[in-house]
Subunit: 458 residues, 2 copies
């Protein structure tokens, strides 16, 4: 039986799910609504529509529709790079000498290099359908911007990406991928926007920040006719689109009669993890099955494990709506020596609620141990993983080694969200032994949490 | 019928071929033997063994065994990243508005980013089986070195890579991938070898060359107990290992009853093209079927289309054996402004003989048109191709557009050998409009061909 499971389980094309699964419909305790910071009231569809596409606002606010159809045009694009393989990590199991059975869902086999494309194509589609000319967004290292530029090229939409200036200059490769896909990439802060001009007047030598790039992208969206702003994580709509990951995973496991004991994913804004675990959480919520679900976050940006569950701004610029989430405070900035991504101070409101209700657990891991796991994985499984994804690898290996000690034959599934081909500067630090672990002090976290906005909605 | 062909044809794991196909066995006119430059005589197994692994020498010289078993250990490794998909380019067909049916065999979904891994794992296996400690090689941009480092990590072999110094310094990313896989990467010329020390004494500021790196790698192999030298293209053994590409392609096509009219591949040293077309050439040689087979080379390094069929050194350093091949002369160096890879002055002796005998044709294409094809392909098919692979894309698009004019519904298959994630500097030149086409003059080529060695063996 065991040997009949191939190294890579590929679904057939007609087994790609036809609907996304909205886990909110099965949640008794719904995620708290987004709040308008101006009046402390939940944001309505009409308040969101000047910023986001109408259909995406609807998805953002929809806590009730359990299954949402994937439009044909998106489904067709999914066939370009999906189904993604569910890989049995025979080589890793062998290297660890563990009785555990390890599987990973690999989302890196597309040019954006990650799962981000799953939501980018959906957001671009709804923008096109609404008759928009284009979309704006921000990007740090460029993973999301790359995915969005691919999606916009496909639908012939204008794509304007505000890229943090230091990344634009020091990490030119993803910038060039975006340009190859026809995106307009602007180093932020720029002279295109009021906020950019204001910041440049005050700090002419600034190398930019993600918070500033978000502000520019939002301003650019609302100030141009026919444009909207799009975002690659955190939001409910993004998590919804990412459920394609979990649904494919579940279909592949079911096909071979495999029931996982542990499901592991890395958590930054939470959308890939939420997408992977939604169908399994759904079974837990409905009392049909039980799974151990582990969110893995960097010890240098530990929203779940050391943050607080409260309303906070989604951005450091404090112009975005307030979300109730596990947060370190919107003014929390992870150390510059943190290389492994997942730098967001907060967490998806859906996952925050689920974590608060005890449906999943969380672990924080240090970056040198993450890169050690990445290297071990790369050498035996033949895939150089993204630093973000490697957080999940670290905990998967830890759990497999526990099984080695206890003799338990647990089945472990983790999400391998992407490849590390554009993260070689961090690998170089690790290879040279110059990478260090930086963990915020309790005082650091207390100081940024002290700045949380005073909101008591609902 | 047509619609039943999926976007991606994946073979089942047990459909991965169990044997490589040695096209030489079906050739009436065998490729000319390698010649020892010292005495003008064909090289024997015993002369080759101090440099190459014994089993690989045997494969190099074997013109008769038609099917060669793939050892179980290699087969197991192949399952890590194979079978590779045969993709129906529906999106590209649609964008071109052509009645042609286009398929491509995509070899880029592994961390080495190309087909090179197919031979690297075989060569590492035979070295391990022979009880060697390690292997040495040279690398330019690093694609072959990356593949070899992955293969050596898997078998626990020491891997010493001499990397052209300017690439080592200016293209650090592939270097770091190799280091992550445990390879020792040395900038060449180095103080490790006599030849390196000599060159550095004479030219302390040299940035190195592939010819020099080859010389260092060969010296390092023969001067260390338990080491051999390995090479990533040109040789018969490499082409043999790469037939896994063509065999999988043929199995996938046969499964759906598809008979290609045109088969296209890019040609540098010739191993990927040879691997792709071998099973089809075999049918032509045996009179079972006919196909139009097109080798695509850069106009800046046009071995087939403007070279001569003669014995020549395989390396610019003139220390390697002589091979009878289409060559521009071992002293021919493509312009530094040529970005698209495929820089080798000669060509596989097998392909050279087949081309000479009229079994395939060749076309030379200019690099700006290659990058234009790459960009068009990337935008609709979602894969950013390697510049090398994009030579094949260029001609596939040209042929599909011819079909649009004539209305012919030809079936076109091409080899997409790899991804361009480490070639973004060239894409940047293209995006900025600073890329130019440089074509050697007749006088340039005549001058380097005038330096061919005087050999008239056989």
């Amino acid at each position: 039986m065991e040997e009949k499971i191939p190294y890579k389980i590929y679904l057939a094309e007609d087994e790609i799910p036809r609907q996304w699964y909205n886990v909110r419909a099965d949640m008794k305790n719904k995620p708290a609504p987004l709040i308008n910071p101006a009046n402390g009231q939940p944001l309505s569809q009409s308040e969101l529509e000047p910023i986001f596409c109408a259909e995406l606002c609807k998805q953002e606010l929809d806590n009730d529709t359990k299954w949402i159809d994937i439009p044909d045009e998106i489904y067709k694009f999914y066939k370009m790079y999906r189904p993604s393989p569910l890989v049995r990590a025979y080589f890793l199991e062998n290297a660890l000498g563990t009785p555990a059975k390890i599987y990973y869902k690999f989302e890196g086999n597309n040019t954006s290099g990650s799962h981000k494309l799953n939501s980018a194509i959906a957001q671009a589609y709804y923008a096109k359908k609404q008759g928009l000319k284009g979309v704006t967004t921000e990007t740090g290292a460029g993973q999301w911007g790359t995915a969005l530029s691919m999606a916009c090229a496909y639908f012939g939409l204008d794509c304007q990406v505000y890229m943090v200036k230091c990344s634009y200059e020091q990490k030119p490769f993803r910038r060039e991928v975006m340009r190859t896909y026809g995106a307009k990439v602007t180093p932020s802060p720029s002279m295109n926007t009021n906020i950019g001009r204001k910041i440049l007047a005050e700090y002419p030598d600034t190398t930019g920040s993600l918070g500033c790039a978000i502000s520019e992208a939002v301003e650019a969206a609302v100030s141009q006719e026919g444009y909207r702003y799009v975002l690659g994580s955190v939001l409910n709509q993004v998590l919804l689109h990412q459920t394609i990951i979990g649904l494919e995973t579940k279909t592949a496991l079911d096909k071979y009669g495999i029931k996982p004991d542990i499901i592991i994913g890395c958590a930054g804004g939470g959308s890939n993890l939420g997408g992977l675990v939604s169908p399994f959480i759904g079974e837990k919520l409905r009392g049909e099955a039980d799974y151990q679900i582990i969110a893995v976050e960097p010890a240098s940006c530990p929203s779940f494990t050391r943050g607080t569950f409260a309303y906070d701004f989604c951005d450091t610029g404090m112009i975005c709506p307030l979300a109730k989430m596990y947060t370190l405070g919107s003014q929390f900035i992870p150390s510059a020596s943190h290389a492994g991504g997942l730098r967001f101070h907060g967490m998806s409101t859906i996952l925050s609620q689920l974590y608060h209700d005890g449906l999943m657990e969380a672990r924080a891991v240090e970056q040198t141990s993450v890169f050690a796991a990445a290297e071990q994985f790369a050498r035996v499984e033949g895939i150089l993983p993204a630093p973000e994804s490697s957080h999940a690898i670290r905990v998967a290996i830890d759990e497999a080694l526990k099984c080695k000690q206890t003799g338990e034959e647990k089945t472990i599934v983790f999400g391998l969200t992407g490849t590390g081909y554009f993260d070689l500067v961090a690998y170089e630090q690790f290879n040279n032994g110059t990478m260090s672990d930086v963990i915020p002090t309790d005082a650091d976290i207390a100081a940024s949490i002290a700045q949380l906005p005073k909101v008591d909605a609902k």
